[in-house]
Amino acid sequence: MTLTRRGFIKLSGATLASSSLSAMGFGGCGVALAQSVRLYKLAAAKETRNTCTYCSVACGILIYTTGDDAKNSHGNIMHIEGDPDHPVNRGTLCPKGSALLDVVHSPGRLQVPKYRAPGTDEFKEVSWDFALDRIARLMKDDRDAHFIAKNEQGGTVNRWLTTGMLAASASSNETALLTWKVARAFGMLVFDNQARV
C-alpha cells in the first residue's frame, strides 16, 4: 500500500506560490516563473509504510521513493523517517534507524551472485542459474549420500544431518514459513536462527 499523503503539498504549494506572487504584482509572468520552480522532492515522492529492520521495538517508518512505478522506471529510495502515527515510536528513530538510508544504499550491498571455487582467492560473478543449479546439485548429492532413513535400532527417522541452515532474523514471517517448509521437506535438523545472539 502506498499513499500520496504529500500529494496535497504539491497542489497547495503551487497554488500558494502563484497566488502570493500575483499579490506581489508579478501578474502573468509571475505565474510562469512559479510554474518553472522545481517541486519539493518529497512532494513528488511515493510514500511507503514499513518497519525498521533493526531491533524489535519495530518502529514504524515512512520510506520515500522517487519515480512513479511506471514500467521501466526504477524508483530510488531517497528518504526514510519515523512514522508519527505509530503508537510505539511516535515518529522517533534511534541512531541506527535514523541512518537506515545508508544501509539501503551501502556500498556493501551485494549486487550480483558470486562464486568462489575451491582453493581460489577470489569471488567471480556468476548467473543465478549457475548458482542455483550448482547448489541444488551439491545439496542433492550430499542428501542422497548421507540421508538417514533408519536409525541403528531400525526405527524410521528420515533425517539429513550433513547439510545445515541458519535462518535470517530480519526476514519476514512469510519468508520464514517458506524456508521452514523447504528445509524440513529435505529432512534438515541442523537448523537454527539468531534467537540466541
Binding site: M1, N50, T53, Y54, C55, V57, A58, C59, I63, G82, V88, K96, A99, L100, D102, V103, V104, S106, G108, R109, L110, Q111, V112, P113, Y115, R116, P118, G119, D121, F123, R134, I135, K140, D142, F147, N151, T156, N158, T163, L166, A167, A168, S169, S171, S172, N173, E174, T175, W180, V182, R184, G187, M188, L189, D192, N193, Q194, A195, R196, V197
Partner: protein, 811 residues
C-alpha cells in the same frame, strides 16, 4: 514480552536488569521515561556497568556478570522473610500450595536424579504428589513441608544479604534498598515491570536467570497486570517471528515440537503431548495440540496427509538429540561431520563464540551458501586478512556462493515485534542490480531439487515431492498468500454445535478455536490464526485508538495469540473477577462474561466460581514457582558460576558450574583459569550500531568507527593503560588488539573479599564494511551455551589485558 511497549508507562517500578534498554532499544525506552514522568515510577538498574539506562535511573547497583540468580534468589528470600508478597494472588494463581513428590530433593548444589556421567538429570521425581484421579495434591494451609512454597523458602534460605553481596559484589546497603523498592509492588494495585534482554539469556544459566525473575513477579502478583510482566526486549526485527514460526532445530511453527527417535508412531508422539489437566476444571489449553499438529500437516502435505498415514507423520524428520543448535553444528563441522551450510542473513563468523573454531569449521565445508543483502565476513571466511582473519585460501576447498538478497525496504510481509504484534510492511523499491528475495531463492533451490528427484530419484523423495506448493506464482510466492497459509483455512464446510455451517470450505479461519484434528482444517502456524481472515489482512490495520489511553491499541496491526495484547490478563483481576488495580483494569467479570479493553486470556464466559486458573497453558492452571520437569537444570533456579569464573562457587565449591550444561570436550579444553586470565569479560552493543550490519552504513561507521574495549580507571592505572591507548585483550581462545576507553562507569567490585574487575567488549567490528577493520568480540568468547537453550555464554568469561604498541606489533 507479556505486555506491550506502551504498557511500560503503567509501571510503578521498572527493573532493568539483564539489558540496557536506553542504548539497545531507545525508542521503546521512551515508555520508561513516560512511566517516570507521568506515573511517578522508580527506575532501578542492576548492571556490571553504569550504563546509559543507569544514567537516568532512580537507583543503580553494580553486579558481577553471571550472578543474577543469586541476587534474585535473595530478593525472593527477602520478600518471604518480610512477608511482602501478594497473598491472594500467590494462593490462587500460583502452585505455592501444591505438594511435591517425596523423591525430590536438593543437596550441595545438585537436585535429585543427577547422573555425573551424562551431565543430566533423571527428572522422574520433579513432580507433584498425585491423587487417585491424577490431580496434584494440595494443602491450602501451607502446613505440609512439601508444599512448593515451603520447599522454595527452604531453597532460597541460603541467599542471605551477606551471601548475595559476597557472590555478586553488590554492596549490602544498595542491595537492600533495591529489595525494599521491589517489595513495594506487592500491594495489589502496584506493579513492577521487568525489562531484560541478552544480558540474562547469554549465560550457561540463562533460562534460569529469567525464571528467577518470573518467580519474583509471581510472588508480587505482577504477571498479567497493567504495568507488570516479564518483558524480553528482543534484539532483531523478526527474531520473535522466526521463533514463532519454529525456525529452530526441534520446533514446528507455533511452539509444537518435532518427534524424537523413540516416538516411532504418531500415537507415541501424542502420548507425551496429552497435557491432561493436573487440577480439576483446568483449561490446560495444550490439550488441543493434536488439532494444531494435524492442521499443520495439512498445510505441509495437503491431500498427502491422511488419517490412514497418521497425517504424514513419517514425512517429518526425527531427532536423536535434544537439538542441533549452532554450537553443536560447529562442533560437528570441525569434526568433518557437516558438508554443506546455508547462511540466510546470518553471519556466524562474527556472531558465534570462539571465532577461530567457527573459521576452522567453515574451512572444512564442501559448500557454503550465503544469502544476504550485505557483504558478510562469513561469506569471505576463506580470505586472508592477516591477523583479523588468517586463512590460507589455497588450502580451503569450500565452494562458496554469495547470493545478493533484498532488504526490508524491498519486500512486503510481516515482522513480529517484541510485544508479539504482527505488523505488515510494504515494498518501497526494487532491490539493487540482480538481488532477489529470500523467497525467490528458497523457491529456486526447492524447485531444482524437486526436479532432480523427479528425474533421478534418490533418498526418500516423498516429503519433497508431496510438499504443498499451491501458489499463484510458484517461482516467487507472494507474502499475502504465505500469510494466508499461516492463518489457515477450512478444507471442508465446518459446522457448529447446532449443525449450521460456521465456515465454508475454502474460507480463511477466524480463530484457532476452529481448528480440527480430522483433516478438515489447515493452518501453517496456529498461533497466527486470526491474522488474515475473510475480513482481510488484520496485520495491516492502522487504527491508533487506545481505550483509556492504557497502551493497548487493540486495532493497530494484530497480536498473537487471538489479538491478545497482555498475556495472562485473567490474573489482572482477583478471584471474584474484580480488578486488583481499579484505576487500570484490563478485563473484569460483569456477571455474565469477561469484559474490558483486551481480549481475555481465558474462556470469555467462564464464571469466577468455576475455579479455572489464569495460566491456561499450564496443566495445573497456575504460575509455577516449582517448574516440574520443564527445565533441564532444576525445578528451582540455583546459582552456578559461569564456565569461566574468577571465584569458586561459595555455596557449593564441588559443584562450580551448571551441572546440566552441555560442554564439548574440545571446548572445555579451551576454558581459561583466573590465574592466567584474571578479569571478567562481558560483551554488549552500542546504541550507534546494530551487530555487524551498521558498519556498512556510512553514518554509523563514522559515529563509532573503531573497535575498542572499556576498562575502569583503577585497573587501567594498575596496568599502565592510557585512555585511547592500544591494548591487547586475550582469552584462552584468542586475542584482539584494539583501543582502550578508560571509564568511570566500570568500577571494581568486591567479590568473596577480593577486588574483581570487569572489562567491557562492544561487539560490532569485523573485516568488511566502512568502519575501521577489527576482530570482533567473539575472538574471545567461550563456546558453551545455556543448558536449556544453548544460548552462548557471551556475558561472563575470563580475559587478560595489557598495554600494546598497536597493530604494528602484531605479526
Amino acid at each position: 514480552m507479556t505486555n506491550t511497549w506502551q504498557d511500560i508507562k503503567n509501571a510503578n517500578v521498572v527493573l532493568v536488569m539483564g539489558g540496557n534498554a536506553a542504548e539497545a532499544h531507545p525508542c521503546g525506552f521512551k515508555w520508561v521515561i513516560e512511566a517516570k514522568i507521568h506515573n511517578g515510577a522508580k527506575l532501578i538498574v542492576v548492571d556490571p556497568r553504569f550504563t546509559r539506562t543507569a544514567s537516568v535511573a532512580d537507583f543503580y547497583a553494580p553486579i558481577r556478570p553471571g550472578t543474577d540468580i543469586a541476587f534474585l534468589s535473595g530478593v525472593i528470600r527477602y520478600l518471604l522473610e518480610k512477608d511482602q508478597v501478594q497473598h491472594e494472588y500467590v494462593r490462587a494463581y500460583t502452585n505455592a500450595s501444591l505438594i511435591v513428590k517425596e523423591g525430590f530433593s536438593f543437596k550441595d548444589g545438585l537436585f535429585s536424579g543427577y547422573n555425573a556421567e551424562t551431565h543430566s538429570y533423571d527428572k522422574t521425581d520433579w513432580q507433584y504428589e498425585l491423587d487417585e484421579q491424577g490431580f496434584a495434591k494440595i494443602d491450602d494451609t501451607w502446613e505440609n513441608p512439601r508444599c512448593v512454597i515451603n520447599l522454595m523458602r527452604q531453597h532460597v534460605d541460603r541467599y542471605t544479604p551477606e551471601m548475595v553481596s559476597r557472590i555478586c559484589g553488590t554492596p549490602i546497603d544498595k542491595y537492600l534498598t533495591i529489595c525494599n523498592l521491589i517489595a513495594g509492588t506487592s500491594l495489589p494495585d502496584k506493579a513492577m515491570t521487568s525489562l531484560f534482554a541478552l544480558g540474562w539469556t547469554q549465560h550457561s544459566v540463562g533460562s534460569q536467570n529469567i525464571r528467577t525473575m518470573a518467580m519474583v513477579q509471581l510472588l508480587l502478583g505482577n504477571i498479567g497486570v497493567s504495568g507488570g510482566g516479564m518483558n524480553a526486549l528482543r534484539g532483531h526485527s523478526n527474531i520473535q517471528g522466526l521463533t514463532d514460526v519454529g525456525l529452530l532445530s526441534n520446533q514446528i511453527p507455533g511452539y509444537l515440537t518435532l518427534p524424537k527417535d523413540q516416538e516411532q508412531t504418531f500415537d507415541d508422539y501424542m502420548k507425551t503431548r496429552q497435557f491432561k489437566p493436573l487440577r480439576p476444571n483446568q483449561m490446560s489449553y495444550w490439550q488441543n495440540y493434536r488439532k494444531f499438529f494435524v492442521s499443520f500437516q495439512k498445510t505441509m502435505f495437503g491431500d498427502a496427509a491422511t488419517a490412514e498415514n497418521n497425517w504424514a507423520y513419517d514425512l517429518l524428520p526425527k531427532l536423536n538429540v535434544p537439538m542441533y543448535d549452532i554450537i553443536k553444528a560447529f562442533e560437528m563441522m570441525v569434526h568433518g561431520e557437516i558438508n554443506g551450510y546455508i547462511c540466510q542473513g546470518f553471519n556466524p563468523l562474527q556472531a558465534f563464540p570462539e571465532k577461530n573454531k567457527i573459521r576452522r569449521g567453515l574451512s572444512k565445508l564442501k559448500y557454503l551458501v550465503v544469502m544476504d543483502p550485505l557483504d558478510t565476513e562469513t561469506s569471505r571466511f576463506w580470505e586472508n586478512v592477516g591477523p583479523l582473519n588468517p586463512s590460507d585460501p589455497a588450502k580451503i576447498e569450500t565452494e562458496v556462493f554469495q547470493l545478493p538478497t533484498t532488504c526490508f525496504a524491498e519486500e512486503d510481509g510481516t515482522l513480529v515485534n517484541s510485544a508479539r504484534w504482527l505488523q505488515w510492511h510494504w515494498k518501497a523499491a526494487e532491490p539493487p542490480a540482480k538481488a532477489k528475495s529470500d523467497i525467490w531463492i528458497m523457491a529456486g533451490i526447492f524447485h531444482r531439487m524437486r526436479e532432480l528427484y523427479r528425474k533421478e530419484g534418490g533418498a526418500f523423495p516423498d516429503p519433497i515431492l508431496k510438499l504443498t506448493w499451491n501458489y499463484t506464482d510458484p517461482v516467487e510466492p507472494s507474502a499475502d498468500e504465505l500469510a494466508k497459509e499461516m492463518n489457515g483455512r477450512a478444507r471442508a464446510d465446518l459446522k457448529d454445535a447446532s449443525g449450521a455451517i460456521a465456515v465454508k470450505a475454502g474460507q480463511q479461519l477466524d480463530s484457532f478455536a476452529q481448528l480440527r484434528d480430522d483433516g478438515t482444517t489447515e493452518s501453517g502456524c496456529w498461533i497466527f490464526t486470526g491474522s488474515y481472515t475473510e475480513k482481510g489482512n488484520m496485520m495491516a490495520r492502522r487504527d491508533t485508538h487506545d481505550p483509556r489511553d492504557q497502551g493497548i491499541t487493540p486495532d493497530w496491526a494484530w497480536s498473537w495469540p487471538a489479538n491478545r495484547r497482555i498475556l495472562y490478563n485473567r490474573a489482572s483481576a482477583d478471584v471474584a473477577g474484580n480488578p486488583w488495580n481499579p484505576a487500570k483494569p484490563i478485563i473484569q467479570w460483569d456477571g455474565s462474561r469477561w469484559v474490558g479493553i483486551d481480549v481475555p486470556d481465558y474462556g470469555p464466559t467462564i464464571k469466577p466460581s468455576d475455579g479455572v486458573g489464569p495460566f491456561i497453558m499450564n496443566a495445573e492452571g497456575t504460575g509455577r514457582f516449582f517448574a516440574l520437569d520443564q527445565m533441564v537444570d532444576g525445578p528451582f533456579p540455583e546459582h552456578y558460576e559461569p564456565m569461566e569464573s574468577p571465584v569458586e562457587n561459595l555455596l557449593h565449591p564441588k559443584v562450580q558450574n551448571n551441572p546440566a550444561a552441555r560442554v564439548f570436550a574440545d571446548d572445555r579444553a579451551d576454558f581459561g583459569t583466573p590465574e592466567q586470565f584474571p578479569y571478567v569479560g562481558t560483551t554488549y552493543r552500542l546504541t550507534e550500531h546494530f551487530h555487524f550490519w551498521t558498519k556498512h552504513a556510512l553514518i554509523n561507521a563514522i559515529l563509532q568507527p573503531q573497535e575498542f574495549i572499556e576498562i575502569g580507571e583503577v585497573l587501567a592505572n594498575e596496568k599502565g593503560i592510557a585512555n585511547n591507548g592500544w591494548v591487547r585483550v586475550s582469552s584462552k581462545r584468542g586475542h584482539m588488539i584494539c583501543k582502550a576507553y578508560v571509564t568511570k562507569r566500570i568500577k571494581p567490585m568486591t567479590v568473596a573479599g577480593k577486588p574483581t574487575h570487569v572489562i567491557g567488549v562492544p561487539l560490532h567490528w569485523g573485516f568488511t564494511g566502512l568502519a575501521k577493520k577489527g576482530y570482533g568480540a567473539n575472538i574471545l568468547t567461550p563456546s558453551v551455551g545455556d543448558a536449556n537453550t544453548q544460548t552462548p555464554e557471551f556475558k561472563a568469561f575470563l580475559v587478560n589485558i595489557e598495554p600494546s604498541n598497536g597493530p604494528e606489533g602484531e605479526v
